[in-house]
Symmetry: C2
Subunit: 349 residues, 2 copies
């Protein structure tokens, strides 16, 4: 029997992540209570917490790029993961109704390596400019006893924390609303542990992709995450959307968070991009697992009312983002994915 | 000949750190220029950059706890390094004239380990409450191929990013001003690579300290960093100080940053606390190296005018911080340390 790969078999346990999240939320609450702050954002279904400063609501977000750092080492190319560390944060902020203002980076290195540091900072620079976000500062730590890598001496980890100002009110999607999917730009920074374990057991990073000899497997895995800040800010400003879900950890499961209880959605996904088809075929990954792990071609999802959908799509096209209606909110709870050529796949935790 | 330990021999290269810092500063400038921001704080000699939001000047800071994480693993005690990740950030913010508002943590783990996560978050909670700083959110990443440790499966790294509002103007110390040293609470989170390599080659973490059988070597190394936020905020608010230097990376060299060019100071340090004496003796560490690496009993330094010094010290005592005058700014450039029983030691980059 052919081995069937899942995210858990690749070393990522969604249940553990959920339990860790719950522990952190309890701490956030207890600190807020102790300090007499009453600004928890979690009830609103977006960032965990805020601080109020005069009339401003400020939030912080932190994220890394996971094991995409290992692909960068194998390719000896670093700007893409620097970019991604910013991208993951600013996309998350803007999805929740906050405009990113500034970031700090934290880079931990196995050895003092100028090439890695400069590469990461090149990517951070590009992504900051793309998302109109200032670089405020950063920290570099060289810790040979803490950091390791897939190539000797080339180990590193990169994460970013971002400051955002909450400007727009998120709303939950309800019956009749429309789900719009924005195309992704490859695998982004999620599911890399699974993708890497499957593909790099069959291919070398320098092998051409079987579906396109002009790109290598490594380039496909390393492709920088699309940054959606410009289009999301525009849609918020024009009051054309109710909410967004950034399709990262948990992938299409994240759409549940932006729907009212007792509603659900059937999503007509596009034919998966070739890189995902290759992963699925080579890894024999179950269909429900793929839509809980990968963006599968959709990097950001917007929810809006039926009458505004065409305007949203028109604006996306104008600004250079491909977007389509991929579903309507109905009264059947849960996320059902209508996979081309396969049929309906229900995903759940 | 007895081996003489230095920070560089312990794996930490100050020159590399300086070169990395310069690369980051160039990027910060180029991003600010590209985005037409003109808010660099570096010329003022404190944080690297700001964002301006209405009348508010906001800054972000990032820091980790370095290889203190390895001591935590050996001791199987984690709250102290969670605390320290917050402490390093909030102390730095307040030293530069900013009040900490909120933090996010980033925890990278070798394996899914609830004990480590809960320990770290307990410490983060305590330190947030002590410094009146909200916990806004955080990220936990489990990456067995990126993180390693000193005990199998117990590898982790913890860093924090903190948001501060710049409320007070720093000034450089000039001729006649007074340097006040605030006592530290042990080794804090700096110089651990050197301290650990020296002490743990001679002792087990569970061995009693030779100078005090009621504490172990591990407890001494793990002692949580004193948080100076309350006293520094009070001194800023009462306009009693010109500037602070948080004695962390670079240790007493950091005092140069808060002095005008062409001035210097002779510092009458207290007799080093026992833990530092033990490190120096066992590692045969040169005296100038110790004052560039460790806090040597002084965790924060304030600079003020001669007429305000007594009031500063009175307020410190009232609020439970030990503080003394340790030097006066003179016209001889450089930092000279008057080490008890040793004599004058000049430290430089």
């Amino acid at each position: 029997m052919k081995k069937s790969w899942t995210y858990k078999k690749a070393g990522v346990d969604r249940d553990a992540a959920k339990s860790f999240h719950d522990i952190a939320i309890r701490k956030i609450r207890s600190i807020s209570n102790a300090l007499n702050l009453n600004v928890l954002g979690i009830e609103e279904g977006r960032f965990t917490n805020y601080v109020q400063l005069g009339d401003y609501k400020l939030t912080l977000h932190a994220d890394g790029v996971g094991t995409k750092v290992l692909v960068a080492q194998l390719m000896n190319r670093y700007w893409e993961v620097g970019w991604d560390a910013v991208a993951m944060n600013v996309n998350d902020l803007v999805a929740g109704g906050a405009k990113p203002l500034g970031i700090v980076d934290y880079i931990a290195l196995e050895k003092s390596d100028k090439e890695i540091l400069e590469g990461l900072l090149d990517g951070i620079e590009k992504a900051c400019i793309e998302s109109k976000t200032a670089l405020i500062g950063g920290e570099t730590a060289i810790m040979p006893d803490v950091i390791k890598g897939i190539r000797p001496g080339k180990g590193f980890d990169v994460s970013v924390a971002a400051l955002g100002i909450v400007l727009w009110n998120v709303q939950k999607g309800s019956y009749g609303d429309v789900i719009i999917g924005f195309r992704s730009n490859g695998i982004h920074s999620n599911g890399l542990s699974l993708a890497r374990k499957i593909l790099l057991s069959k291919f070398d990073v320098n092998d051409p992709a079987p579906y396109d000899s002009s790109v290598t497997i490594g380039e496909e895995l390393l492709r920088p995450t699309r940054i959606y800040v410009k289009i999301c800010v525009k849609l918020w400003e024009k009051n054309l959307v109710k909410n967004f879900a950034h399709i990262t950890g948990g992938a299409f499961l994240k759409i549940r968070r932006i729907l009212e209880t007792n509603s659900g959605v059937e999503i007509n996904v596009p034919d998966p991009p070739d890189i995902f088809k290759l992963i699925i075929t080579k890894g024999n990954v179950p269909w429900d697992e793929t839509y809980k792990t990968f963006n599968m071609g959709i990097g950001m999802v917007a929810i809006t009312t039926k009458d505004l959908a065409e305007e949203v799509i028109r604006l996306c096209k104008k600004m250079g983002y491909e977007a389509d209606i991929i579903g309507k909110v109905d009264k059947e709870p849960g996320i059902r994915i209508n996979v081309p050529g396969i049929g309906m796949v229900r995903i759940q935790c």
